[in-house]
Symmetry: C3
Subunit: 347 residues, 3 copies
Amino acid sequence: MMEFSAGQIAAVLGGKLMGDANVMVRDVAPIESAQSHHLSFITDEKYLPMLETTHAGVVLVTQSLLDSHQSPETKLIAPLRQRITNHQSTVILVENARGAMGQLLQMVSKTMFPAKKGIEQPSFITEGVAIPDGAYVGAFAYIGRNVRLGAGVQIYPNVYIGDNVTIGEGTILYAGVKVYANCQIGKQCILHAGVVVGSDGFGFEPDAQGVNQKIPQIGNVITEDDVEIGANTTIDRAMMGSTVVHKNIKIDNLVQIAHNVEVGESTFLCAQVGIAGSTKVGKHCILTGQVGAAGHIEIADNCIFGAQSGIAGSIRKPGMYMGSPAIDAGIWRRATVRFKQSGQRNN
Amino acid sequence: MMEFSAGQIAAVLGGKLMGDANVMVRDVAPIESAQSHHLSFITDEKYLPMLETTHAGVVLVTQSLLDSHQSPETKLIAPLRQRITNHQSTVILVENARGAMGQLLQMVSKTMFPAKKGIEQPSFITEGVAIPDGAYVGAFAYIGRNVRLGAGVQIYPNVYIGDNVTIGEGTILYAGVKVYANCQIGKQCILHAGVVVGSDGFGFEPDAQGVNQKIPQIGNVITEDDVEIGANTTIDRAMMGSTVVHKNIKIDNLVQIAHNVEVGESTFLCAQVGIAGSTKVGKHCILTGQVGAAGHIEIADNCIFGAQSGIAGSIRKPGMYMGSPAIDAGIWRRATVRFKQSGQRNN
Amino acid sequence: MMEFSAGQIAAVLGGKLMGDANVMVRDVAPIESAQSHHLSFITDEKYLPMLETTHAGVVLVTQSLLDSHQSPETKLIAPLRQRITNHQSTVILVENARGAMGQLLQMVSKTMFPAKKGIEQPSFITEGVAIPDGAYVGAFAYIGRNVRLGAGVQIYPNVYIGDNVTIGEGTILYAGVKVYANCQIGKQCILHAGVVVGSDGFGFEPDAQGVNQKIPQIGNVITEDDVEIGANTTIDRAMMGSTVVHKNIKIDNLVQIAHNVEVGESTFLCAQVGIAGSTKVGKHCILTGQVGAAGHIEIADNCIFGAQSGIAGSIRKPGMYMGSPAIDAGIWRRATVRFKQSGQRNN
C-alpha cells in the first residue's frame, strides 16, 4: 500500500477532517489493533469509545454516530475532541464510514494488486487461440483448442482450460483453476485457486450384472457474469444440457454443485455447501456454511438457510429455515431448546 | 456431437420408428427444454404428456409405457399419433429408453471426447519411465522415478505423479491430479481434476513436553479397477500398510478418506462424505451427501445412509440409516416429526 | 525401506531381544496383517493374544504389558515363550512400543522419503529471488517477485507462490500448493497437495441497486512454525490485517478457514471442519470431523467438539461439546437417547 496523508484521504472522500491533515498512513487495520501508521474506521456506535484508546493514525467515522452523541449527557464527544487536539488520532467524518472504507479499499486494492498483463513462458497455447491485448497468461497455463478469451482476462499459472471453453472479458482465473471442455464462464468473474468447473456429474446405472456403469456426462457448465467462486470449489457438468450459475452469484470455498443444478441470480453459497443433482435454487437466497440440499428439488427465491441445515424437500415459501431436515427457523429454535431440556432431566 | 437422422438412431438401437426418419438431431436435451435439433427420451409415465408439447426432434420412448396407455380411457395415444402425423416429433419406441439413451450417450461421448494421445511439451518425464503407445501425457505433467504406466493411460496437463507410482491401463488422470509416491491406481479408473491420492494421514502424538509430534505415514493408497474419484477429493496414505479403495467404487467430489480406511467394492460415496481413520466400509453401500463416519468402526455391506448422517459406531446390519448419530431411518423420521412438533407447541 | 535385523533394531531402541537376532524385516505392518518380512508392534493389552498367531517377523512389545501377564493365572506368557523358542516371531521388549515405533518410523521415513534438493527445469523463478542451498524447486513451480525462501525449503512441482510471500526454513510445499501474494508461512511447516493459502475472504456488500459488490480483501494469511495443513484445505486472507494460524496447529484435509480467523496454538482441526469469518479458536482445542463454527465468536482453550457439531455461539468454558447447536456433551448424549425413544413409540 502506498502512503497517503489524512488530508488526501479526506479530499478523496469529501469528508470533514478533525485533527492533523499531515498524518501519514500506509495500511488499514481494525480499530482495536490499529497502530499509528494505520487507517481504520468506525461504523457502529459500540466502537465509538475506542476513539479514546485506539492508536490508529486516521479513523473514518460515520457522521451520524457522532451527531447522536452531541447531547450534554454524552461524555464521549469531549474526550474525542481532546484527543484530536492532542494529535493522537486524526478523525475524518463521512456520511457512511463503511462505504467510504470500501471506496478506499478499492483504491488500495488496485494499487496492491494491479491487473497482470502479458504472456509468461513456458505456457501452452494451442495454435489458433487468440490472446487479447491486455490479457495475462501465466507460466504453465494450458489453453486448449478453440478457446475464446475476452479482453483483459487474467489466467494465472498452472491454470487448465479445456477445448471450446469461453471466458468472458475481465474474468480472473487464479492459479490452478481447471475448466473442462465446452464450459462457458461469463464476464467479470473471479475463480479462485483450485476451482474445478465441468468435471463429470455423478451418474451411474447398474447393468444386468449389477455392475455400476458410468452414464456419460455430455453437457456443460455455464456461469453468467459477475460470479465469484471460492478456492477448491467444484461445479459438475450436466449429464445433458447445462449446470447453470446465474449472474452475480457469490460462492465460497469448498462448495459442491452437482450436475444439472441451477442457481438463481444474486444467491450466496457459503463455504462447504453441497447441492445435489438437478436441484433448482432460487434468486437472492443465502445458504450458509455446510448446508446441504437434496437432489431434484426446488428452493424458492429469498430463502435463508442456517448453518449445517439439510434441505430435504422443495421449499415453496421465502423465509428462514434451520435444522436437518430444514424447518421453519422459529420452530427449530424452540425444538432445540426442548431437545436440550430433555437431556438435562434425569428421569 | 455429430448429426444423426432418426432412421440411423432407430437402426442402431433396433427401435420402432414412428414419424419422419429423415429428421436430423445433433444434440441431446431433457424433454422439457429440448428443441428441434435435440434427441430426448421418456422413461417415466409422468413425462408422457410432454410428448404433446415437447419441441424435441426425436424422442426415445419405452415401449411398455405406451402399451399401458392404449386403452380407450387413455386420451394420450391419439394426440401422440396426431403429433407424429403432423411431423412435430419423431418417436422411436425401444424396450428401455434409459438403457438406449445410455447406449447413445456412450457413442456421443466417444465422439465428443475422443481419447487423447501423444506427449505434449514441455512435460517432465523422469529418465527410464516408459510411456506406452497410445498414452497421453499433457503439458506440465510431472512423472517421477520408476513410475509404471498401463496402456492407453491419459495424463492431463499439470498432473503430478510421485516416485514408484503404478497407473493401470486405460486410466484417466484429469488436470491437476496429484498422486504421492508409492501409490497404486488400478485399471480403467477415472480421477477427476484436483484429486489428491496419498497425502499423509492425520497422525500426531504429543511428546513429553506436550508438543504434537508427527507420526510418519509410510504406507500408501491402493485403488483397484473401475474406480471413479470426483474432483478435489482427497485420499490419505496409510500410516503402515494401505488405504484401500476396492473395485467399482464411485466417489463424488470433495470426499475425504482418511488413512488406513478400507472401502468395499461397488460402494458409492457421495459428495463431501468424510470417513475417519481405520474405518472399514462394506460392499454395495451408499453414503449420501455430507455423511461422516467415525474412525475405527466397521460398516456392514448393503447399508444406505441418509444425507448428513453421522455414523458414530459400527453398523452390523444392512439397512437404511439417518441422523447424527445415525439410527434406523424409520425411527429417525418419526423422531424428527416429534422434534418439530415440540417446537410448534407454545407451552 | 531398507532391511534391518532384529538385533539392529533392538540395539537402536535399547530393547530386550527375545528370539532370533538375525531375522530380517524390510517393512512395517499392523499386527493382524503382518508377514514374516514385517516389523509390527503391540501397545495395547487386547492385542497380546495376537502374539500367538501373527506372522510378523519382529514384534515390538511394551514391557509392562507382559509384566502384568506373568502371574500363574495368565496363560499367555507360556505360549509366547514357546513361540519365540520355535523362532516363529522375534520379540523386542521396550519401555513404550508406540514411542519406539514412532522412533523407527522416523528413521524409515527419512530413508523412504529423503529431502529433495535442486532445481528442476522448467520452473519459473522471478529474477532476484534467491534459492537457498539445499532447497528443492520442482518442475513447473512458479515463484513470484520478492519471495523469500528459508534454508531447505522443498517446493514440489506445480506449486504457485505469489509475490512477496515468505516461506520459513525447512517447510515443505507439496505438489500444486498455491500461496497468494503477501502471505507468510512459518518454519518446519508442511502444506499438502492442493492447499490454497490466501484466497480472498468472502465479503460482499449490496450497493444502492441491491447488487452485491465485492469488498476487497487486502490482508494476508500468517501461519506460524510447525503447522501442518492437509490436502485441498483452504485458508482465506484477511479483509484487513491477518488470518492467523498459530504454531504447532495441525489441520486435516478439506478444511475451510475464513478471513480474519485466528486459531490458537496446538489446536487440531480435523477433516472438513469449517470456521466462519473473524472467529477466534482457543489453544489446545480439538474440532473433530465436519465441525462448523459460526463467524465472530470466541472459543475457549481446551475445548473438544464432537463430529458434525455446530458451534453457534461463543464457548467460554473448556469442555466437551456435541450437537448442532453444540451443547454440553453429556446433556447432548442423553437428549439423543430421548430423541431416539420418541421415534420408537407409536403413540
